[in-house]
């Protein structure tokens, strides 16, 4: 009997990985639990264990192969009394892997245009570079959080920081968000500039009291004496198949509160420029990243002093018929929607908000005055969401310019389901944006 050993998924968002090393040879007998290979993802190197007893019949993917898709057969397991190769000839003859599929692929649909004085880097690298550059130039900046140091970051965003800056600048904390958020805030009151990583913003709810009551409000309550220069950062929004408690967008929660600045990057350029601005900012900044975006590549300026000012949106694509207002991962989906709309004769303008508080109302209003229609996009719940706020702002500032009611594309008003089909239904998709834009243009 022959069993295919498949390329395993080692995290909820992993789509492919590198088969770094085989730890067995063809013909080796193995038992369940034996280590058979090392696999590298963009986050980590992990060892793969055998799940059955038997003998390695054939290694289908050579060591060092990059871009091996999850669920690709990587080896064949045969009964221990069988002979390798000969008995499996018919199966091995099948073209499991074509050569061209084993090459590295950029994880984006379109080729990235390299801008001058820039490099093509992932959002993850851009975030790390931003922290490293600021830590080099300002000794008061330090990083703390769960697994940020020795483990190199749960999502590898802090990779290499411990090596470069040592354990006086990079701190692994216990899993106690309330406590370490408060300690970060105290350190900020003491004139340091902490970067506090939450493994995800879902866990930051444990620290909500410290973030709101201590970080956001103390400047006001002290009559301006007690500034709190701190950055809280980490992945926000839907991950993949992790269900309701680990998949939520907190943009509207934090944006609700005076005293906080809230930013959410989309591209590598946003990530670097905004994070550097956030670290230099004298106020507490909530920095909402997106796990799904970490591995995506964009052109990003190399300059150590490249900043994206907080409070400034960016028009990613100009258009004349409808304004799509989005942030974070929804910017990419909006750009995809704009391409589809273009084929239908609708020219959409796509605004990447980048900052949620302060909100760049001017850019939104100017665009709506030009297009006369607006669609907001977010992963969060619709009720009292960012879209609701933007819609109110448009009503207050550009009511007379509107040719249709503002439409909101949001996550559905339900806790995130686990099942793949339900999860897809719960999250806003490109088609939803296309449909909403068509509706406000009365072309559905």
């Amino acid at each position: 009997m022959t069993i295919e050993i498949l390329m395993p998924a080692l995290s909820p968002t992993m789509e492919e990985g590198t088969l770094a090393k085989w730890l067995v040879n063809e013909g080796d007998s193995i038992s369940s639990g034996d280590l058979i290979a090392e696999i590298e993802t963009d986050k980590a190197t992990m060892e793969v264990e055998a799940v059955d007893d038997g003998k390695i019949g054939q290694l289908l993917v050579p060591a060092g192969t990059e871009g091996v898709k999850v669920n690709t057969p990587i080896a064949l397991l045969i009964d221990s009394n069988e002979l390798p190769h000969t008995s499996i000839k018919t199966i091995a003859d099948k073209p499991y892997l074509e050569k061209e599929k084993i090459t590295t692929e950029l994880k984006i649909d379109k080729p990235v245009t390299l801008e001058p004085n820039s490099s093509i880097i992932t959002v993850r690298e851009a975030l790390r570079n931003a922290m490293a550059e600021e830590m080099r130039s300002d000794k008061k900046v330090f990083v703390m959080g769960e697994e940020v140091a020795e483990y190199q970051g749960a999502y590898k965003v802090t990779q290499g920081l411990l090596d470069e800056f040592g354990n006086k600048r990079v701190y692994d904390t216990p899993i106690t968000e309330h406590g370490f958020a408060g300690i970060g805030i105290g350190a900020a009151f003491g004139n340091l500039k902490p970067i506090v990583e939450f493994m995800t913003f879902n866990f930051a709810m444990q620290a909500m009291d410290q973030i709101i009551n201590s970080a956001a409000k103390t400047l006001y309550m002290s009559g301006g004496q007690m500034g709190c220069p701190i950055v809280f950062r980490g992945p926000n929004g839907a991950a993949s198949r992790v269900a309701a408690q680990h998949s939520q967008c907190y943009a509207s929660w934090y944006s609700h509160c005076p005293g906080l600045k809230v930013v959410s990057p989309w591209s590598s350029k946003d990530a670097k420029g905004l994070l550097k601005s956030a670290i230099r900012d004298p106020d507490p900044v909530i920095f909402l990243e997106n796990e799904v975006m970490y591995g995506q590549s964009f052109s990003c300026p190399d300059d150590d002093d490249f900043l994206v000012p907080i409070g400034q949106a960016n028009i990613e694509k100009e258009g004349s018929d409808v304004t799509i207002i989005a942030f974070s991962i929804m910017v990419g989906k909006s750009l995809e929607a704009a391409d589809i709309l273009n084929e239908k004769g609708i020219k959409a303008e796509v605004i990447n908000l980048r900052s949620l508080r302060p909100l760049d109302i001017e850019t939104i209003i100017n665009s709506v005055k030009k297009t006369n229609r607006a669609v907001t996009c977010e992963e969060g719940f619709p009720f009292a969401g960012i879209g609701a706020e933007i819609s109110a702002a448009i009503n207050e500032n550009a009511f007379d310019w509107l040719d249709a009611p503002v439409k909101r594309v949001t996550g559905k008003d339900v806790p995130m389901p686990y099942a793949a089909n339900l999860e897809k239904l719960a999250l806003p998709q490109v088609d939803d944006i296309v449909n909403a834009c068509s509706e406000v243009c009365y072309k559905s």
């Binding site: 309330h178 406590g179 408060g182 805030i185 340091l192 009551n213 103390t218 009559g223 500034g227 106020d283």
Partner: protein, 334 residues
Amino acid sequence: MKKNISSLVKNNSKFNYDLDLLKDMYKKMLLIRRFEEKAGQLYGMGKIGGFCHLYIGQEAVVVGIQSAQIDGDSIVTSYRDHGHMIACDMDPKGVMAELTGREDGYSKGKGGSMHMFSREKGFFGGHGIVAAQVPIGAGLAFAHKYNGNKNVCITYFGDGAANQGQVYESYNIASLWQLPVIFVIENNKYGMGTSVNRSSAGDNLSDRGKAYGIKSEIVDGMDIIAVREAAIKAIEYCRLGKGPYILEMKTYRYRGHSMSDPAKYRTRDEVEQIRKTSDPIENIKVLLNKMGVVDKVLKDIDVEIKSIIADAARFAQDSPEPSPSELYTDITIN
């Protein structure tokens, strides 16, 4: 509990201590007591609004500890904070003007009784959420250590706060990272209306540090000499970089939890008994007498203090309300 030093010295005619220091501590305790009495009075007259938590009865704790500090040390506490501010030499005028919600208050009238700060004096609040100041204090200690200075942070909290989870998250990290923080539990026997034995399992709150490897001591918080001696030892330990320290101060508040608390959860007798037998100000008076300070001198101090408080009360009522334009300032720095 640590031996009651003053009860020893009361019976010891040869008691000797730094007289100037003793007088200073007496003055400060009296200043706090008179300040709080005045605040209670102004509250009753409707001049002070909202919540107002008085420190009367607990004066020896903060004054004794403050006497062991050096410049640059930081202090953080809960909402029962007037005593701590006065002990830090913050101006009673500015504190009282904050209570009345006026522009000359330490927070320009925007913080009130529970939220006042003075970076200059090393006072980092004044925090309204029970136990929120505990991780903040550990964070201030982190900053001292990070900057490589020899300063420490004194982090005060009550017996009620001692049951909050973030206290233990802070103990854990403070001990792991050897932070120079002294956790001072002001155990005044009641977390609002619930006595310690009805809310807290185990014998002593200070014992809870053992699980984190934190040294602790129980101190008679009504005895300023005992408080000071314990503080000197704890602060020295922290300054040497040996990590955190817990001092559990057994103390008592004479007034209700806040102004609106009728304190029906304890008998009038209980309060009277403590006032009679262990009032911290009466205790220090005995010591001063023993050192040859006559009642006339103490009376003169009292007169001086009363006039400072009267000035503060007048100032706090004469100071204008904050300008309406203050509504939108200090929300963010830029």
